[in-house]
Protein backbone atom coordinates (compact mmCIF):
# COMPACT_ATOMS: atom_id res chain seq x y z
CA UNK A 1 0.00 0.00 0.00
CA UNK A 2 2.89 2.38 0.76
CA UNK A 3 3.96 2.24 -2.86
CA UNK A 4 0.41 2.91 -4.01
CA UNK A 5 0.05 5.90 -1.70
CA UNK A 6 3.36 7.28 -2.94
CA UNK A 7 2.13 6.84 -6.50
CA UNK A 8 -1.13 8.56 -5.52
CA UNK A 9 0.73 11.55 -4.10
CA UNK A 10 2.87 11.60 -7.25
CA UNK A 11 -0.27 11.56 -9.39
CA UNK A 12 -1.61 14.48 -7.38
CA UNK A 13 1.42 16.68 -7.94
CA UNK A 14 2.66 15.50 -11.34
CA UNK A 15 1.89 17.40 -14.48
CA UNK A 16 -1.13 16.34 -16.45
CA UNK A 17 -0.96 13.95 -19.41
CA UNK A 18 -1.46 16.92 -21.73
CA UNK A 19 1.67 18.65 -20.37
CA UNK A 20 3.83 15.57 -20.93
CA UNK A 21 2.45 15.25 -24.42
CA UNK A 22 3.28 18.91 -25.03
CA UNK A 23 6.89 18.18 -23.97
CA UNK A 24 7.17 15.26 -26.41
CA UNK A 25 5.54 17.36 -29.12
CA UNK A 26 8.04 20.16 -28.61
CA UNK A 27 10.91 17.67 -28.93
CA UNK A 28 9.70 16.36 -32.29
CA UNK A 29 8.98 19.92 -33.48
CA UNK A 30 12.54 21.01 -32.61
CA UNK A 31 14.06 17.84 -34.12
CA UNK A 32 12.13 18.54 -37.32
CA UNK A 33 13.29 22.16 -37.31
CA UNK A 34 16.97 21.44 -36.62
CA UNK A 35 17.23 18.90 -39.44
CA UNK A 36 14.90 20.85 -41.78
CA UNK A 37 12.88 17.65 -42.03
CA UNK A 38 9.42 16.92 -43.39
CA UNK A 39 8.39 15.02 -40.27
CA UNK A 40 9.59 13.69 -36.93
CA UNK A 41 7.98 11.10 -34.65
CA UNK A 42 8.39 9.56 -31.22
CA UNK A 43 7.28 5.96 -30.75
CA UNK A 44 6.64 4.52 -27.29
CA UNK A 45 7.07 0.81 -26.66
CA UNK A 46 3.86 -0.46 -25.03
CA UNK A 47 5.27 -3.32 -22.95
CA UNK A 48 1.92 -4.98 -22.22
CA UNK A 49 0.94 -5.25 -25.88
CA UNK A 50 4.56 -5.50 -27.13
CA UNK A 51 3.78 -2.88 -29.75
CA UNK A 52 5.20 0.46 -30.86
CA UNK A 53 2.78 3.40 -30.62
CA UNK A 54 3.06 6.80 -32.31
CA UNK A 55 3.19 9.09 -29.26
CA UNK A 56 4.07 12.43 -30.90
CA UNK A 57 4.32 13.49 -34.55
CA UNK A 58 5.46 16.78 -36.10
CA UNK A 59 4.91 17.65 -39.75
CA UNK A 60 3.63 15.05 -42.19
CA UNK A 61 1.10 12.75 -40.52
CA UNK A 62 0.74 14.87 -37.36
CA UNK A 63 -3.03 14.93 -37.64
CA UNK A 64 -3.56 11.21 -38.15
CA UNK A 65 -0.75 9.07 -36.77
CA UNK A 66 -0.79 9.63 -32.99
CA UNK A 67 -2.08 6.49 -31.33
CA UNK A 68 -1.39 4.23 -34.32
CA UNK A 69 0.29 0.91 -33.39
CA UNK A 70 2.43 -1.73 -35.07
CA UNK A 71 4.46 -4.81 -34.01
CA UNK A 72 7.49 -3.98 -31.86
CA UNK A 73 10.13 -5.62 -34.04
CA UNK A 74 8.78 -4.61 -37.43
CA UNK A 75 10.46 -2.29 -39.91
CA UNK A 76 13.22 0.17 -39.20
CA UNK A 77 11.69 1.48 -35.95
CA UNK A 78 11.46 -2.11 -34.70
CA UNK A 79 15.06 -2.84 -35.68
CA UNK A 80 16.20 0.30 -33.86
CA UNK A 81 14.28 -0.64 -30.71
CA UNK A 82 15.47 -4.25 -30.57
CA UNK A 83 19.12 -3.64 -31.52
CA UNK A 84 19.35 -0.32 -29.59
CA UNK A 85 21.46 1.03 -32.44
CA UNK A 86 20.85 4.28 -34.33
CA UNK A 87 20.44 3.96 -38.09
CA UNK A 88 20.37 6.46 -40.94
CA UNK A 89 19.19 5.51 -44.42
CA UNK A 90 18.51 7.63 -47.48
CA UNK A 91 17.11 7.14 -50.99
CA UNK A 92 14.40 4.83 -49.65
CA UNK A 93 12.26 5.39 -52.73
CA UNK A 94 14.13 2.59 -54.45
CA UNK A 95 12.62 0.09 -52.05
CA UNK A 96 9.14 -0.89 -53.26
CA UNK A 97 8.39 -3.31 -50.39
CA UNK A 98 9.18 -0.78 -47.71
CA UNK A 99 7.27 1.95 -49.55
CA UNK A 100 4.13 -0.12 -49.95
CA UNK A 101 4.02 -1.24 -46.32
CA UNK A 102 4.74 2.24 -45.05
CA UNK A 103 2.15 3.81 -47.32
CA UNK A 104 -0.47 1.30 -46.28
CA UNK A 105 0.07 1.99 -42.59
CA UNK A 106 0.78 5.73 -42.52
CA UNK A 107 -0.17 7.18 -45.90
CA UNK A 108 3.27 8.77 -46.15
CA UNK A 109 6.31 7.35 -47.93
CA UNK A 110 9.61 8.92 -46.77
CA UNK A 111 12.75 8.84 -48.89
CA UNK A 112 15.14 9.29 -45.98
CA UNK A 113 15.02 8.27 -42.35
CA UNK A 114 17.07 8.80 -39.19
CA UNK A 115 16.08 6.36 -36.47
CA UNK A 116 17.48 6.34 -32.94
CA UNK A 117 16.56 4.32 -29.83
CA UNK A 118 15.30 6.09 -26.70
CA UNK A 119 17.32 4.55 -23.88
CA UNK A 120 16.88 5.28 -20.19
CA UNK A 121 19.04 3.31 -17.77
CA UNK A 122 18.72 -0.30 -18.91
CA UNK A 123 15.43 0.18 -20.68
CA UNK A 124 14.66 0.83 -24.34
CA UNK A 125 11.55 3.03 -24.06
CA UNK A 126 10.90 3.75 -27.71
CA UNK A 127 12.29 5.27 -30.90
CA UNK A 128 12.77 8.79 -32.30
CA UNK A 129 12.66 9.17 -36.06
CA UNK A 130 13.38 12.13 -38.34
CA UNK A 131 12.02 11.74 -41.88
CA UNK A 132 13.21 13.41 -45.07
CA UNK A 133 15.75 15.79 -43.59
CA UNK A 134 17.06 18.48 -45.92
CA UNK A 135 19.04 16.73 -48.71
CA UNK A 136 21.24 19.81 -49.12
CA UNK A 137 23.40 18.85 -46.15
CA UNK A 138 25.35 15.61 -46.55
CA UNK A 139 25.03 13.40 -43.52
CA UNK A 140 27.95 13.49 -41.09
CA UNK A 141 28.94 12.05 -37.73
CA UNK A 142 28.21 15.49 -36.23
CA UNK A 143 24.56 15.09 -37.18
CA UNK A 144 24.53 11.61 -35.69
CA UNK A 145 25.76 13.11 -32.42
CA UNK A 146 23.05 15.78 -32.54
CA UNK A 147 20.45 13.08 -33.09
CA UNK A 148 21.81 11.23 -30.05
CA UNK A 149 21.46 14.38 -27.91
CA UNK A 150 17.84 14.73 -28.96
CA UNK A 151 17.25 11.09 -28.23
CA UNK A 152 18.49 11.55 -24.65
CA UNK A 153 16.08 14.41 -24.12
CA UNK A 154 13.20 12.47 -25.65
CA UNK A 155 14.00 9.42 -23.48
CA UNK A 156 13.80 11.51 -20.31
CA UNK A 157 10.46 12.97 -21.41
CA UNK A 158 9.13 9.54 -22.29
CA UNK A 159 10.23 8.20 -18.90
CA UNK A 160 8.35 11.04 -17.16
CA UNK A 161 5.24 10.31 -19.22
CA UNK A 162 5.37 6.63 -18.33
CA UNK A 163 5.86 7.34 -14.63
CA UNK A 164 2.92 9.75 -14.60
CA UNK A 165 0.71 7.24 -16.40
CA UNK A 166 1.73 4.53 -13.95
CA UNK A 167 0.95 6.77 -10.97
CA UNK A 168 -2.46 7.68 -12.37
CA UNK A 169 -3.21 4.02 -13.10
CA UNK A 170 -2.31 3.06 -9.51
CA UNK A 171 -4.54 5.84 -8.22
CA UNK A 172 -7.43 4.69 -10.38
CA UNK A 173 -7.06 1.13 -9.07
CA UNK A 174 -6.51 1.87 -5.39
CA UNK A 175 -9.89 3.42 -4.61
CA UNK A 176 -10.99 6.33 -2.43
CA UNK A 177 -8.32 6.20 0.33
CA UNK A 178 -5.46 6.95 -2.03
CA UNK A 179 -7.73 9.40 -3.87
CA UNK A 180 -8.01 11.58 -0.76
CA UNK A 181 -4.22 11.68 -0.40
CA UNK A 182 -3.82 12.56 -4.05
CA UNK A 183 -6.41 15.36 -3.87
CA UNK A 184 -4.80 16.80 -0.73
CA UNK A 185 -1.34 16.69 -2.36
CA UNK A 186 -2.68 18.27 -5.52
CA UNK A 187 -4.55 21.06 -3.65
CA UNK A 188 -1.49 21.77 -1.50
CA UNK A 189 0.67 22.06 -4.59
CA UNK A 190 -1.61 24.77 -5.96
CA UNK A 191 -1.63 26.97 -2.82
CA UNK A 192 0.60 30.02 -2.62
CA UNK A 193 3.19 30.23 0.16
CA UNK A 194 0.99 32.22 2.56
CA UNK A 195 -1.95 29.83 2.25
CA UNK A 196 0.27 26.78 2.39
CA UNK A 197 1.86 27.50 5.75
CA UNK A 198 -1.23 26.96 7.98
CA UNK A 199 -2.19 23.86 6.00
CA UNK A 200 1.29 22.41 6.45
CA UNK A 201 1.06 23.13 10.21
CA UNK A 202 -2.24 21.29 10.30
CA UNK A 203 -0.81 18.34 8.36
CA UNK A 204 2.22 18.36 10.66
CA UNK A 205 -0.08 18.11 13.68
CA UNK A 206 -1.96 15.26 11.99
CA UNK A 207 1.35 13.53 11.34
CA UNK A 208 2.27 13.87 15.07
CA UNK A 209 -1.07 12.38 16.12
CA UNK A 210 -0.70 9.44 13.74
CA UNK A 211 2.84 8.73 14.89
CA UNK A 212 1.81 8.97 18.53
CA UNK A 213 -1.04 6.55 17.89
CA UNK A 214 1.34 4.03 16.32
CA UNK A 215 3.75 4.23 19.28
CA UNK A 216 1.03 3.34 21.76
Amino acid sequence: MTENLQAAVSAGVMSAESEHRALLQSIVEVARGIFSARASSIFLHDEAADELVFEAVAGEGSDSLVGMRFPSSKGIAGWTLVTRQPLVIEDLKQDPRFSREQAESTGYVPEAMMSVPLLHDERALGVLQVLDRSPEIEFSLGQMELLGLFANQAAIALDLLQRARHARAVLAESGSDAGVIARVASALEELDEEQREPVLRLLGALDDVLRADVSF
Binding site: I76, P86, L87, L92, Q94, E122, F139
Partner: protein, 283 residues
Protein backbone atom coordinates in the same frame (compact mmCIF):
# COMPACT_ATOMS: atom_id res chain seq x y z
CA UNK B 1 23.25 -25.33 -42.09
CA UNK B 2 26.61 -27.06 -42.70
CA UNK B 3 28.37 -29.01 -39.97
CA UNK B 4 31.00 -27.12 -37.99
CA UNK B 5 34.38 -27.41 -39.63
CA UNK B 6 37.67 -27.94 -37.78
CA UNK B 7 39.94 -24.90 -37.64
CA UNK B 8 43.49 -25.17 -38.97
CA UNK B 9 45.77 -26.16 -36.10
CA UNK B 10 49.43 -25.54 -35.49
CA UNK B 11 49.57 -28.34 -32.98
CA UNK B 12 46.94 -30.65 -31.63
CA UNK B 13 47.38 -29.77 -28.00
CA UNK B 14 46.35 -33.33 -27.14
CA UNK B 15 49.67 -34.14 -25.55
CA UNK B 16 49.71 -31.00 -23.43
CA UNK B 17 48.00 -30.43 -20.12
CA UNK B 18 45.39 -27.73 -20.44
CA UNK B 19 46.63 -25.31 -17.79
CA UNK B 20 50.41 -25.64 -17.65
CA UNK B 21 53.46 -26.21 -19.79
CA UNK B 22 55.99 -28.87 -18.75
CA UNK B 23 59.58 -28.04 -19.65
CA UNK B 24 59.81 -30.85 -22.17
CA UNK B 25 56.68 -29.73 -23.96
CA UNK B 26 57.76 -26.20 -24.79
CA UNK B 27 59.14 -27.33 -28.15
CA UNK B 28 55.69 -28.54 -29.13
CA UNK B 29 54.25 -25.07 -29.16
CA UNK B 30 57.05 -23.45 -31.11
CA UNK B 31 55.40 -21.02 -33.49
CA UNK B 32 58.44 -19.84 -35.39
CA UNK B 33 58.68 -16.44 -36.96
CA UNK B 34 56.22 -16.58 -39.77
CA UNK B 35 55.24 -12.93 -39.55
CA UNK B 36 57.51 -10.62 -41.54
CA UNK B 37 59.69 -8.14 -39.77
CA UNK B 38 57.17 -5.48 -40.64
CA UNK B 39 53.55 -6.57 -41.01
CA UNK B 40 52.06 -4.79 -44.02
CA UNK B 41 48.60 -4.75 -45.55
CA UNK B 42 50.03 -6.56 -48.55
CA UNK B 43 51.22 -9.39 -46.32
CA UNK B 44 48.04 -9.41 -44.27
CA UNK B 45 45.37 -9.34 -46.95
CA UNK B 46 46.91 -8.56 -50.35
CA UNK B 47 45.31 -10.74 -53.07
CA UNK B 48 42.81 -12.26 -50.64
CA UNK B 49 39.17 -12.65 -51.61
CA UNK B 50 38.05 -14.14 -48.30
CA UNK B 51 37.81 -17.55 -49.98
CA UNK B 52 36.33 -20.26 -47.75
CA UNK B 53 35.88 -18.06 -44.66
CA UNK B 54 32.48 -18.63 -43.04
CA UNK B 55 30.89 -15.33 -42.04
CA UNK B 56 27.66 -15.31 -40.03
CA UNK B 57 25.36 -12.27 -40.07
CA UNK B 58 23.47 -12.22 -36.75
CA UNK B 59 20.74 -9.72 -37.60
CA UNK B 60 17.33 -9.29 -39.26
CA UNK B 61 17.87 -12.04 -41.86
CA UNK B 62 19.28 -11.76 -45.42
CA UNK B 63 17.37 -11.40 -48.66
CA UNK B 64 18.79 -14.48 -50.40
CA UNK B 65 18.65 -13.45 -54.07
CA UNK B 66 20.02 -9.92 -53.82
CA UNK B 67 22.57 -9.19 -56.56
CA UNK B 68 24.92 -7.49 -54.08
CA UNK B 69 24.77 -10.39 -51.63
CA UNK B 70 25.08 -13.47 -53.84
CA UNK B 71 24.77 -16.94 -52.39
CA UNK B 72 23.65 -17.37 -48.79
CA UNK B 73 24.66 -20.90 -47.79
CA UNK B 74 22.39 -21.24 -44.80
CA UNK B 75 19.73 -19.24 -42.99
CA UNK B 76 18.01 -19.91 -39.68
CA UNK B 77 15.65 -17.89 -37.49
CA UNK B 78 15.17 -18.02 -33.74
CA UNK B 79 11.63 -18.03 -32.45
CA UNK B 80 10.10 -18.08 -29.00
CA UNK B 81 7.34 -20.69 -28.70
CA UNK B 82 4.11 -20.15 -26.73
CA UNK B 83 5.72 -22.23 -23.96
CA UNK B 84 8.59 -19.76 -23.80
CA UNK B 85 11.15 -22.08 -25.35
CA UNK B 86 13.51 -20.60 -27.95
CA UNK B 87 13.82 -22.76 -31.06
CA UNK B 88 16.08 -22.56 -34.13
CA UNK B 89 14.31 -23.12 -37.45
CA UNK B 90 15.15 -22.79 -41.13
CA UNK B 91 14.43 -19.21 -42.15
CA UNK B 92 12.10 -18.89 -45.12
CA UNK B 93 11.20 -15.24 -44.63
CA UNK B 94 14.49 -13.64 -45.64
CA UNK B 95 15.02 -10.16 -44.24
CA UNK B 96 12.29 -8.41 -42.22
CA UNK B 97 13.92 -5.00 -42.16
CA UNK B 98 16.77 -4.62 -44.66
CA UNK B 99 19.64 -4.25 -42.22
CA UNK B 100 20.89 -7.85 -42.36
CA UNK B 101 20.91 -7.70 -46.17
CA UNK B 102 22.91 -4.46 -45.98
CA UNK B 103 25.52 -6.07 -43.70
CA UNK B 104 25.77 -9.17 -45.92
CA UNK B 105 26.25 -6.97 -48.99
CA UNK B 106 29.06 -5.01 -47.33
CA UNK B 107 30.89 -8.20 -46.30
CA UNK B 108 30.44 -9.60 -49.83
CA UNK B 109 31.78 -6.42 -51.42
CA UNK B 110 35.02 -6.71 -49.43
CA UNK B 111 35.38 -10.49 -49.38
CA UNK B 112 33.66 -11.72 -52.58
CA UNK B 113 34.55 -15.39 -52.09
CA UNK B 114 33.60 -15.74 -48.42
CA UNK B 115 30.74 -18.03 -47.40
CA UNK B 116 27.73 -16.18 -45.98
CA UNK B 117 25.26 -17.48 -43.39
CA UNK B 118 22.30 -15.78 -41.74
CA UNK B 119 21.05 -16.16 -38.18
CA UNK B 120 17.92 -14.08 -37.72
CA UNK B 121 17.38 -12.91 -34.13
CA UNK B 122 14.87 -10.18 -34.95
CA UNK B 123 11.21 -10.29 -35.79
CA UNK B 124 9.84 -12.18 -32.81
CA UNK B 125 8.85 -9.02 -30.93
CA UNK B 126 10.77 -6.85 -28.48
CA UNK B 127 9.80 -8.89 -25.44
CA UNK B 128 12.34 -11.66 -24.96
CA UNK B 129 14.59 -10.21 -27.64
CA UNK B 130 17.56 -10.28 -25.23
CA UNK B 131 17.12 -14.00 -24.64
CA UNK B 132 16.75 -14.60 -28.39
CA UNK B 133 19.94 -12.64 -29.05
CA UNK B 134 21.79 -14.77 -26.48
CA UNK B 135 20.53 -18.04 -27.91
CA UNK B 136 21.25 -16.90 -31.46
CA UNK B 137 24.82 -16.08 -30.50
CA UNK B 138 25.21 -19.36 -28.61
CA UNK B 139 23.95 -21.27 -31.63
CA UNK B 140 26.23 -19.39 -34.03
CA UNK B 141 29.30 -20.02 -31.85
CA UNK B 142 28.36 -23.71 -31.78
CA UNK B 143 28.47 -23.75 -35.58
CA UNK B 144 32.14 -22.77 -35.54
CA UNK B 145 31.81 -19.80 -37.89
CA UNK B 146 35.09 -17.96 -38.50
CA UNK B 147 33.50 -14.52 -38.13
CA UNK B 148 30.20 -13.47 -36.52
CA UNK B 149 28.96 -9.97 -37.40
CA UNK B 150 26.86 -8.42 -34.63
CA UNK B 151 25.49 -4.99 -35.42
CA UNK B 152 23.39 -5.11 -32.27
CA UNK B 153 23.61 -4.82 -28.52
CA UNK B 154 21.59 -5.07 -25.34
CA UNK B 155 21.45 -2.65 -22.39
CA UNK B 156 20.09 -5.30 -19.99
CA UNK B 157 22.64 -5.95 -17.24
CA UNK B 158 21.10 -9.35 -16.55
CA UNK B 159 22.43 -10.55 -19.91
CA UNK B 160 25.91 -9.08 -19.63
CA UNK B 161 27.39 -12.00 -17.65
CA UNK B 162 26.12 -14.65 -20.04
CA UNK B 163 27.11 -12.59 -23.07
CA UNK B 164 30.56 -12.19 -21.59
CA UNK B 165 30.89 -15.96 -21.18
CA UNK B 166 29.73 -16.51 -24.76
CA UNK B 167 32.14 -13.88 -26.09
CA UNK B 168 35.01 -15.55 -24.25
CA UNK B 169 34.02 -19.00 -25.44
CA UNK B 170 33.96 -17.72 -29.04
CA UNK B 171 37.40 -16.20 -28.49
CA UNK B 172 38.86 -19.50 -27.29
CA UNK B 173 37.15 -21.46 -30.08
CA UNK B 174 38.62 -19.17 -32.73
CA UNK B 175 35.40 -17.53 -33.73
CA UNK B 176 35.90 -13.80 -34.16
CA UNK B 177 33.02 -11.66 -32.84
CA UNK B 178 32.80 -8.26 -34.53
CA UNK B 179 30.35 -6.00 -32.69
CA UNK B 180 28.98 -2.47 -33.16
CA UNK B 181 29.93 0.04 -30.51
CA UNK B 182 27.30 2.37 -29.12
CA UNK B 183 27.60 6.03 -29.98
CA UNK B 184 25.28 7.04 -27.15
CA UNK B 185 26.19 7.41 -23.47
CA UNK B 186 24.74 4.08 -22.30
CA UNK B 187 26.20 0.84 -21.03
CA UNK B 188 25.56 -1.89 -23.58
CA UNK B 189 26.96 -5.28 -24.50
CA UNK B 190 28.72 -7.23 -26.01
CA UNK B 191 30.86 -4.60 -27.75
CA UNK B 192 32.49 -3.49 -24.47
CA UNK B 193 34.09 -6.88 -23.89
CA UNK B 194 37.79 -7.14 -24.72
CA UNK B 195 37.33 -10.57 -26.34
CA UNK B 196 35.34 -9.02 -29.21
CA UNK B 197 36.42 -6.62 -31.96
CA UNK B 198 34.38 -3.46 -31.35
CA UNK B 199 33.73 -1.03 -34.18
CA UNK B 200 32.72 2.62 -34.48
CA UNK B 201 32.43 4.81 -37.60
CA UNK B 202 34.77 7.07 -39.52
CA UNK B 203 33.67 9.39 -42.34
CA UNK B 204 36.17 8.44 -45.06
CA UNK B 205 35.13 6.77 -48.32
CA UNK B 206 37.66 3.95 -48.68
CA UNK B 207 36.10 0.66 -47.48
CA UNK B 208 39.50 -0.75 -46.50
CA UNK B 209 40.55 2.27 -44.41
CA UNK B 210 40.23 1.59 -40.71
CA UNK B 211 41.76 3.10 -37.61
CA UNK B 212 42.92 1.69 -34.29
CA UNK B 213 41.58 3.68 -31.34
CA UNK B 214 44.28 4.18 -28.70
CA UNK B 215 41.54 5.09 -26.19
CA UNK B 216 39.27 2.04 -25.97
CA UNK B 217 36.69 0.61 -25.22
CA UNK B 218 35.92 1.13 -28.95
CA UNK B 219 38.95 -0.48 -30.58
CA UNK B 220 38.53 0.23 -34.29
CA UNK B 221 36.82 2.77 -36.56
CA UNK B 222 35.70 1.60 -40.01
CA UNK B 223 33.69 3.16 -42.83
CA UNK B 224 30.21 3.94 -41.56
CA UNK B 225 28.92 7.14 -43.16
CA UNK B 226 27.08 7.46 -46.49
CA UNK B 227 27.68 3.86 -47.52
CA UNK B 228 25.77 2.51 -50.52
CA UNK B 229 24.30 -0.80 -49.33
CA UNK B 230 21.99 -3.60 -50.44
CA UNK B 231 18.42 -3.39 -49.10
CA UNK B 232 15.28 -5.48 -49.24
CA UNK B 233 13.22 -5.35 -52.42
CA UNK B 234 16.46 -5.87 -54.41
CA UNK B 235 17.13 -2.19 -53.77
CA UNK B 236 20.11 -0.19 -52.59
CA UNK B 237 20.09 2.67 -50.08
CA UNK B 238 22.66 5.09 -48.70
CA UNK B 239 23.24 4.39 -45.04
CA UNK B 240 25.13 5.61 -41.97
CA UNK B 241 25.80 4.22 -38.50
CA UNK B 242 28.18 2.01 -36.56
CA UNK B 243 26.04 -0.93 -37.59
CA UNK B 244 27.38 -0.45 -41.15
CA UNK B 245 30.96 0.09 -40.02
CA UNK B 246 30.89 -3.32 -38.32
CA UNK B 247 30.48 -5.45 -41.47
CA UNK B 248 33.36 -3.52 -43.06
CA UNK B 249 35.53 -4.80 -40.23
CA UNK B 250 34.04 -8.30 -40.58
CA UNK B 251 34.94 -8.27 -44.28
CA UNK B 252 38.51 -7.19 -43.51
CA UNK B 253 38.78 -9.98 -40.92
CA UNK B 254 37.58 -12.48 -43.55
CA UNK B 255 40.26 -11.29 -45.98
CA UNK B 256 43.03 -11.72 -43.40
CA UNK B 257 41.79 -15.10 -42.15
CA UNK B 258 41.51 -16.47 -45.69
CA UNK B 259 45.18 -15.69 -46.24
CA UNK B 260 46.29 -16.64 -42.71
CA UNK B 261 43.83 -19.25 -41.47
CA UNK B 262 45.99 -20.21 -38.52
CA UNK B 263 45.49 -16.88 -36.74
CA UNK B 264 43.74 -16.92 -33.38
CA UNK B 265 41.45 -13.98 -32.50
CA UNK B 266 44.30 -12.53 -30.40
CA UNK B 267 46.71 -12.74 -33.32
CA UNK B 268 44.13 -11.41 -35.75
CA UNK B 269 43.51 -8.38 -33.54
CA UNK B 270 47.27 -7.82 -33.40
CA UNK B 271 47.46 -7.89 -37.21
CA UNK B 272 44.54 -5.44 -37.42
CA UNK B 273 46.41 -3.11 -35.08
CA UNK B 274 49.63 -3.37 -37.07
CA UNK B 275 47.97 -2.59 -40.43
CA UNK B 276 45.51 0.06 -39.18
CA UNK B 277 45.59 3.22 -41.27
CA UNK B 278 46.90 5.28 -38.34
CA UNK B 279 49.53 2.72 -37.24
CA UNK B 280 51.46 0.89 -39.94
CA UNK B 281 48.89 1.53 -42.57
CA UNK B 282 50.62 1.79 -45.84
CA UNK B 283 50.94 -1.04 -48.33
Amino acid sequence: MAEPEPKPERYTGETLPAWSLPAAASAEIGIGVEWPERVTREWALGGSTGAGIRVCILDSGIQPDHRLVGEVEGAVALRKTDEGEIVVEDDTEGDLCGHGTACAGIVRSLAPDCRLFSVRVLGAGFKGSGAVLLEGLRWAIGQGFDVINMSLSTTKKQFSGLLHELADSAYFRRTVLVASAHNMPVESYPWRFSSVISVGSHEEKDPLTFFYNPSPPVEFFARGVNVEVAWIGSATVRSSGNSFATPHMSGICALILAKHPELTPFQLKSVLYLIASNVGGAP
